[in-house]
Point group: C2
Chain length 454, copies 2
């Protein structure tokens, strides 16, 4: 029987096990941690994620989308909170289009269940990868509880073991001509749980992603199924007026939230007490190449870990499954051919999702409350309403389409340049008011369509 | 007694041991390899290096310059060989200025002798660093022959263990917010020994660096004390008309040299036989930050490994010793203060030497035979002759001055831009011929001086 090993029972590893089982592989997953389903540990530091169409497609391909739907809360747009508590709403896309708030642990447990029960995969826990023989498809393991060493050999191995992949670190980084970059951004993050009201209802509008943009830092909130919100504060570690290293005492925490997020503070007046519940974490972009060597391939964060500002880290990992699956079919499971094309075709999109994430980091941080930015977004939405088949804003290309990330990024940069030039020439506010905006769009649509050809 | 451990008995580690001994430290060097002086192994892949004033200064500070002088061959300029065998000569700097060809193994052995005999340092061989406790100054070791594990604890530890530093890999890379980049360039290199004539004389002019620039690839030759030259072919690994992956058989080797380096081929007609004597090697830029953590500091290649195209890899490592030494005095050996300032001040120069190396990679590869480039160099030399105190060409800033690398790089880029604009406006060839060149220089020197303020 064909055999495959997956290193890491996280989101991508668990889903990929379902795919491989479907293709008839005897699948073993080795996981460094305990069984997530039997413990209280978090599967990772970021406990809420935004699922969009690339993720859904990866679920549909192996028929697990219905299982996940039950766990997903649609968010149809973003709601900005200014310092006076005024709200501004921007829909993410067209009528009915949404991204979905999901709990990382929730969908990870579900995918592990499916991999085991429907896919017949075996998951071995507390097995730490301590090395690999890339050419021979061997993973070297050490049990974190017993200390026992073992190895597992299979026809093909997938390292879905995350941003700090042991396979990549222990084996691939030592390869001659292996390019590797880990670059931390100057911001860190800290999570805060905003509990439900005592009757279980939500303290904020449920079906939207909340953002408190403050120039150099921001707070966001995503809804959970139980009425709570998982909130995340992104801010520089140090060297700025507002920075994590300046918020140490309870008084400083309280003063900070009162001053810059007063409407949020009103919802959670014990913020100073809950502040320490989650650790301060760092954020990095990790690029590398090649992604495959011998019988091994990197997938998900192990190949292209990114910062979370486009909500595409998980989605891009799931899309890796779709891409790998299509190539398995195309090359009839001739793995050297599959791997060669996988890394050649997919690496630009790994870079693309990282470029997009960094771009949106700047956008969310610096522009999301900017009147010109909001006007541009309003204008792009109007174009899309009039010509949904001819113009797709960048956010929609990324979140509501399957256009390759690299292509979406280059389209988006060209569109942005075009819009900035256009807004120098035309007073869009006036045109929105006097009703001339549609005529302008009709006159430009030919140009606009040419900007991106997907 | 104050104690220090140095990981790596290479060029920087051995020299730094002399410094620390001078300051009264009990110094232990741990070295992964055998004693270089008792074996035939090469200390590294690149067996010839160009020593310039930054290296000499580091030697002079601890009085070892005389010992090294005996091993160094001055090269006063570069001699270009075109495909027809025509030679063009460019002096490197002003009258008497030279860079020096040295054997890596030769000066390494000499520095080890001095460290042991004059510095009273202890060198332990076959000791592989397998981990480190950064906060407590402990290096964990495994003897590569006996397999015995041990540890060494000291007041301060210096990792001078090269581009693939074990300390950096095993300990620092795992630190939160440690930025790390290893980027291979698309070229590799292969060394070829051009032997002396049977009477021991040199087959090429001795006191010059020979270059055979061929656009996308090049051959260089540096003189050795025994009449031979160490030659290095730099070329893309693949994907080019001329690439290492196209030169496999003896016939292909012979054909390649006959075609593109005919004058060189005439000197070494058995090239096809000696081609395999040295392996094909890769070239990478390795950047990281921070450079210090707890009681550890990275020095030399461990901190800022570069590609060899400015001949500054070794010199920058030696300059790290000078910088660290000055800070030891300044802060009276208060190591936390020394380390903080060392990395803050020196990191931009690590980046600088890498930027310079990459820049010169393109220059040597693409421009060194270009008539405009040669004219620009000739013009810059004339400026320097007329105004040696007011204008220093980039090469001289890097190779004949102690201007920080970062400053030299930014000066150089500004000079280059200025020269390119100038050459659009003035026909320098004509001015050289009709004698008007000096008047032009007199009229420009005010501007030129402003470009770089060192």
């Amino acid at each position: 029987m064909k055999s495959a090993t997956i290193v890491g029972a996280g989101l991508v590893g668990s889903l990929w096990a379902v795919y491989l089982s479907k293709a008839g592989y005897n699948v073993t997953i080795v996981e460094r941690r305990k069984d997530l389903r039997k413990t209280n540990i978090s599967a990772g530091k970021s406990i809420n994620l935004a699922l969009s169409v690339r993720g859904w497609k990866a679920f549909k391909t192996v028929g697990v989308d219905k299982d996940i739907e039950a766990l997903a809360i649609p968010m149809y747009g973003r709601t900005m909170h200014d310092q006076e508590g005024n709200l501004t709403y921007q829909p993410y896309g067209q009528e009915g289009q949404a991204i979905y708030s999901v709990s990382r642990a929730g969908i990870n447990c579900k995918l592990m269940d499916i991999a085991e029960n429907e896919g017949d995969a075996t998951i071995k826990y507390n097995e730490k990868c301590i090395g690999a023989d890339l050419e021979n498809g061997i993973v070297y393991l050490e049990n974190t509880i017993t200390g026992e060493k073992s190895e597992i050999k299979s026809d093909v191995v997938f390292a879905a073991d995350g941003a700090f992949s042991a396979v990549r670190y222990e084996a691939m980084q030592k390869l001659d001509r292996f390019d590797y970059n880990q670059d931390y951004i100057e911001d860190g993050y800290r999570e805060i749980l905003l509990p439900a009201n005592s009757d279980g209802s939500y303290k904020l509008e449920k079906n939207t992603l909340h953002i408190w943009p403050r120039g150099r830092f921001m707070l966001i909130a995503l809804p959970n199924e139980d009425g709570s919100f998982t909130c995340t504060l992104f801010m520089p570690h140090e060297n700025h007026e507002y920075a994590f290293d300046k918020i140490n005492t309870k008084e400083e925490v309280e003063h900070f939230f009162k001053e810059v997020f007063p409407d949020f503070y009103d919802l959670i007046p014990d913020i100073a007490d809950v502040w320490e519940n989650h650790p301060l974490s760092s954020l990095a972009i990790i690029r590398c190449y090649p992604w495959t060597s011998g019988k091994f391939a990197l997938m998900g964060d192990a190949a292209h870990a990114t910062v979370p500002f486009y909500g595409q880290g998980m989605n891009s990992g799931f899309e890796d499954c779709t891409v790998m699956w299509d190539l398995m079919q195309k090359h009839n499971e001739d793995w050297p051919k599959v791997f060669e094309e996988y890394q050649r075709v997919r690496k630009p999109d790994g870079d693309g999702v990282q470029d997009l994430s960094l771009h949106n980091y700047y956008v969310m941080r610096d522009y999301v409350a900017d009147p010109d930015f909001l006007l541009q977004k309003k204008f792009e939405r109007r174009i899309e309403q009039l010509y949904p088949d001819k113009y797709t804003p960048l956010y929609s290309q990324v979140s509501f389409s399957h256009i390759p990330y690299s292509k979406a990024y280059s389209n988006g940069m060209k569109q942005d340049e075009y819009m900035k030039e256009l807004m120098k020439k035309h007073d869009l506010n006036a045109l929105f008011e006097n009703g001339g905006i549609d005529d302008l769009i009709h006159s430009l649509i030919g140009d606009l369509q040419k900007i991106h050809d997907h």
